[in-house]
Symmetry: C2
Subunit: 233 residues, 2 copies
Amino acid sequence: MNQEHASFTPSKSPALFNLVDDGIQEAIIAAANVVRYTDGQLIHTRGQIKPGVSIVKSGYAKVGVNGLDGTFIMAGVLGPGESFGEFTIFTDLPRTHDVTASGTTEIYQIDEQRFNKLCDSHPELVKALLCSTLMRTHLLLELLDSMRRLPLKARAVKLLLSIAYTTGSQDFVRIRQTDLAESLGVTRVSLGKVVKKLSNEGLIELGYGKIRFPDRNRLERWLEQQSATPLSY
Amino acid sequence: MNQEHASFTPSKSPALFNLVDDGIQEAIIAAANVVRYTDGQLIHTRGQIKPGVSIVKSGYAKVGVNGLDGTFIMAGVLGPGESFGEFTIFTDLPRTHDVTASGTTEIYQIDEQRFNKLCDSHPELVKALLCSTLMRTHLLLELLDSMRRLPLKARAVKLLLSIAYTTGSQDFVRIRQTDLAESLGVTRVSLGKVVKKLSNEGLIELGYGKIRFPDRNRLERWLEQQSATPLSY
DNA sequence: AACAGATTGATAAGTTTTTAGCATTTGACT
DNA sequence: AGTCAAATGCTAAAAACTTATCAATCTGTT
């Protein structure tokens, strides 16, 4: 049912676990409950207010918003070491997204009380959180900016390249056009048109559930020309 | 040339100065240089990498992106106590926005070294920064979500209500249609069409440089119907 | 009271995106 | 090798948005 997922946020966001040293990692793990979810199972829902931080231990967490009509708009996929829900500790805001497991997934869950203790005893953790959040904000701002200024064609390439970047695969990406469209916030038809054009221009090659880059450098150059601003993904 | 500006972010983002106690405020002010800018003067430009935190002392800072063709896309307006550029301290990312003064404006500028010292001596400051950043991220996510799911008409109402909320004025907002359009990332023509419709339906009243809400409750109810999700602005 | 600049109102043509279909191809599983 | 569900390919009409202009209205200032 669910094929392997690329981990993207939609761009390289630093995993919290990569920003803290081993000691803090162990302290977090010690304070956490590990919860297992099966494929498609709901981890959190938009609007919830129960506070708690979650960190992916294994598997993937799909982040997005479920519409009442069954549609799902994806905001990104989080992989091992990546965290979500931090803001429920520090603010009393409701959750912004629905989070579901993609494949069998284990999540470290840390409740409010324990996490606050961790923050008090490890000031470095607060700094790491700040750092990770600032980077996330930065990405969001760039995303917002490109949504407004770049045509869909360029946005699609940008997303493809960033997925390739985060997955490490150099010349192809395993993703369905439906998911790409969802991530970009457009319909499959619109996306289909632009990937067709890109394919005609030889910039990408379309496959079943995947997209190849025959010449990644050329693709990157093409994108930079479109952006008219420094490339940052 | 420049009329009074509503302070909006585009929604209530907590000013950093409201999140810290007086002692820290004084310490920040002591570490800062005050720089004066005249109306329209550039404070920072997108792409810059020189680190430093800025806090509005008086006046307003207009945040957005200047296109090569002279167009300007506004992301928000920051008022006294609000901060920007924090991420230049904690990451080595380039600035995402152009910031210009709107009216005569004074800015506290704190350089990297001094700000780091402040953070070390006042751990509460890091927590406040985290809190403010998390709230900002939350707003951005909500914004992104509504951009994808709501029609322009609803997005326009949402923005209007959030501006009214942050300015405290209950039944009208002082803003030009041009600025509204910029904030929403659409042209004045498109915005003109939807505000005209809203006006025909009696939900708002159009004025010269301002928009009135004859019945704010009705407007809020209307928006909630459109959203089909809990209202949060 | 008159003027100038700023702001809104309005229109038409052109482009992009969506909606709603249906046909075709692919890959996994018998 | 055949079958079925998943995924892509394609089309046409409708809706939304942009670009480019020009006219009308408002406001502060002389």
